[in-house]
């Protein structure tokens, strides 16, 4: 049982929670995630650790309401408990001093990107960060990102904030302007796919953090399998970060829909 000590709405559908988890706070590294469960009938779902405070013994999670389980997490109030929480899971991000890093975050993927941006900056890199969303109200963690980036670019589909356009348009501008040594992309699968196609064209090594469907998160079930470089990998133990140019994004996106009908049924039931 892990207590929620802070809660903040970033938007109607995106919630930040700070949870007591002293051991995880201590051992987590950028790129790690947790698996949690709300209620005795709850589903196990993965969420990236967006930050931690060792002294307070807490971790920060940023959750977007998608279906039953994420909504149950978002509906928890300060003082309430998460039934089960395990982690840190997954391989941490490999952080080196490489030169200039282009970090691209879309939607709620901005949250897991934050500790990575922080770590790259701390390791001595120049960090250019691009945040992308459909519209202004969906841009999250802008101040935190600005604090840890050398430059922050905001792109919105509808032009309601920052520049109007897709994340890839912002990226291309930066790539044409200066030498980029590595790119990191976290966001919806479709966005990561297009980021990856772009950086492949410019031959920039790129890392993508995948959000495959998971159950245990310890390598036991194989629900999270993806094809990377022609080989089957388990996202939870071999990832979640992989060489983006090697990922079979078509398969990955198709697998994200593997339980679509069942999920919709569960959500209809939940709303009743």
């Amino acid at each position: 049982m892990n207590k929620i000590v802070e809660k903040e709405y970033f938007s109607e559908k995106i919630v930040k929670i700070v949870v007591e988890a002293p051991l995880i706070a201590k051992s987590r590294k950028p790129g790690n995630f947790v698996i949690l469960r709300v209620g005795e009938k709850g589903e196990r779902i993965p969420l990236t650790i967006a930050g931690a405070d060792i002294a307070k013994g807490t971790i920060t999670l940023v959750v977007q309401k998608m279906g039953v389980s994420s909504t149950k997490v978002c509906d928890l109030e300060v003082g309430e408990y998460i039934t089960d929480l395990v982690g840190p899971l997954g391989k941490p991000t490999e952080i080196h001093n490489l030169g200039t890093i282009l970090c691209c975050g879309g939607g709620v993927g901005v949250a897991p990107l934050l500790p990575i941006v922080e770590a790259y900056k701390k390791a001595g890199n120049r960090v250019v960060t691009i945040l992308a969303a459909r519209s202004k109200d969906l841009i999250i963690l802008e101040d935190e990102m600005r604090k840890h980036s050398d430059e922050l670019i905001i792109m919105t589909d509808d032009g309601s904030y920052g520049k109007k356009g897709l994340v890839t348009e912002g990226m291309e501008e930066v790539i044409k302007r200066e030498k980029i040594d590595e790119c990191v992309t976290i966001g919806p699968a479709i966005m990561m796919k297009f980021c990856s196609l772009l950086t492949k064209k410019y031959e920039i090594p790129t890392v993508a953090s995948l959000n495959s469907i998971m159950v245990d998160g310890t390598g036991m079930c194989g629900a999270c399998r993806v094809t990377v470089g022609g080989k089957t990998k388990f996202t939870c133990v071999d990832g979640p970060e992989f060489d983006a140019h090697q990922i079979d994004f078509e398969e990955m996106m198709s697998r994200l829909g593997g339980y679509k009908n069942e999920e919709v049924d569960k959500f209809d039931q939940f709303q009743k």
Binding site: L23, I24, K26, S27, R37, G39, K41, G42, E43, R44, V68, S69, K72, T83, D84, L85, V86, G87, P88, L89, V215, D216, T218, G219, M220, C221, G222, A223, R225, V226, T227, T232, V237, E251, S254, R255, G257, G258, Y259, E262, E263, D265, K266, Q269, F270
Partner: protein, 469 residues
């Protein structure tokens, strides 16, 4: 005359009734009269060969003679002298290959063995239902902290023995439930979770502590645990890594490992409407494999409403590693067996969901390393099978979490932890290991036997190091 009594028959729930729910137990247990009569068959042999067949050397004639006298609680406490989980073993042990195969009736009389497994289950269930659960004798606490990594049968039996010896035992489990495969793998219709929970309660009463949601090596390191005062470790982390066949189309939606399928249903309760966890259902469900895991999966599919629940297995029924009883029950429930058949490719529909599998007929050639006849493909025998759900149950590999996170631990090329055989001690002196992480996939009772062996030897090791003089 004892020898002319017929072996007791286990009562079963009717197949039409039991396939309606994942939670109706198939075998319903012996009545007291049946058990006492069956116990009469045992000859109390001077040299009870049955005990040699039991990996934990249960005193079989002693517990059976107690049943014959009607001293059922006494029988249960005899079981507990050597086994931490008698109600579990009485249900899932492959008795026909172990204790019962070595019974005098089989070896010398060529008659059906004394139903040792049924009797074991009877005594353990009787004790549980009576509410008079005995706690084994305990040595005074010595305050030495010992950590168990993994709460499967191996870890649990180790924990029980160490607690009896006076150690301060904490079991760390990665999942949110205690029990390992007993909870997430073996279905309720063979082994109700409530039965496992009672045995876990007994361990709690003996002072064993359980910490769930804790992955040793990740939540904290071994070094952290040492700093917390743990003096020795028992690794019972199991063989949790599912194998796939690496054939074309295997990552299509609708194709999953037996671990995923069984975990969703057994651990997460996805067979019930109230669970938030979804599970895939289909008209045609194919399970690939021929072991206990395959039988559990295909029978689960039947209970989730499959019209055709099929086993596809590349050898013949004779070579199937599953218990005969499981195959028999599966057939009663209407499971179809496509033996000498092997999948070679999966075909998905326009949404990426599997809709068909291409299979190939096989024939049996010369025996292979395992002693079983090797299946060889029959040229030109390919055909197509319709399926909306495919469960791959072709085996598991050792869980790599501990081997990957502990420096200096010797591991075989198969990923199993190397131990000194009779001691279960690894290349790191304070780390012992047993069960599937050492054997690469075996049985509940072998895993438990390893736990007992390790406890005995760890006690010697720790006594020498901390308690002598």
């Amino acid at each position: 005359d004892r020898m002319s009594i017929e072996r007791a028959l286990m009562a079963e729930t009717e197949p039409e009734v039991r396939i309606k729910s994942q939670r109706i137990e198939v075998n319903t247990g012996l009545t007291q009269e049946q058990a006492i009569l069956e116990a009469t068959r045992c000859m109390d042999c001077v040299n009870p060969t049955c005990m040699e067949g039991c990996p934990v050397s249960i005193n079989i004639p002693k517990f059976i003679k107690n049943i014959e006298r009607g001293e059922i609680l006494e029988a249960a406490s005899v079981l507990k002298e050597t086994s931490a989980l008698p109600a579990v073993c009485g249900r899932v042990c492959p008795q026909e290959l172990q204790c019962e195969q070595k019974c005098f009736y089989v070896e010398k009389l060529n008659q059906p063995a004394v139903a040792i497994g049924y009797l074991e289950r009877f005594a353990a269930d009787f004790e549980r239902e009576s509410g008079h659960i005995s706690t084994p004798e305990m040595v005074a606490s010595n305050g030495i902290k010992v950590a168990v990594i993994g709460s499967g049968p191996s870890g649990l039996s180790f924990a029980g023995d160490m607690a009896k010896l006076g150690y301060d035992v904490t079991v760390f489990e990665a999942l949110h439930e205690i029990g390992g495969v007993l909870k997430y793998g073996i279905p309720e219709f063979r082994l109700p979770n409530a039965v496992v929970d009672v045995e876990i309660e007994s361990l709690r009463r003996m002072g064993v502590k359980f910490i769930t949601n804790y992955i040793v090596g990740q939540t904290a390191s071994l070094a952290d645990l040492k700093a917390d005062g743990y003096k020795a470790f028992y690794v019972g982390s199991g063989a949790g890594l599912p194998r796939f066949m690496n054939i074309p189309g295997e990552n299509a939606n609708g194709i999953l490992s037996s671990n995923e399928y069984l975990t969703r249903v057994n651990l997460m309760g996805a067979d019930s409407e109230e669970s938030d966890t979804p599970v895939l259902r289909g008209k045609n469900v194919v399970v690939v494999g021929g072991g206990n895991t395959a039988m559990d999966s295909v029978r689960t599919a039947k209970r989730l409403g499959a019209e055709r629940a099929m086993i596809v297995y590349r050898r013949s029924e004779e070579e199937m590693p599953a218990r005969v009883e499981e195959v028999h029950h599966a057939k009663q429930e209407g499971v179809e067996f496509l033996t000498l058949t092997n999948p070679i490719e999966y075909i998905a529909d326009e949404n990426g969901r599997v809709c068909q599998m291409k299979v190939q007929k096989m024939e049996l050639g010369e025996p292979d390393a395992s002693g079983r006849r090797r299946p060889v493909p029959v040229e030109g025998s390919e055909c197509i099978l319709d399926c909306e759900v495919v469960v791959v149950a072709v085996g598991v590999s050792p869980n790599p979490l501990i081997p990957n996170s502990v420096e200096g631990l010797e591991v075989s090329k198969w990923g199993t932890i190397e131990v000194v055989k009779d001691k279960m001690q690894s290349s790191i002196p304070e780390m012992f290991a047993g069960g599937d992480i050492v054997r690469g996939g075996a049985t509940v009772i072998l895993a438990m036997g390893d736990g007992r062996k390790a406890a005995k030897n760890m006690d010697i090791y720790l006594t020498e190091k901390y308690l002598s003089n």
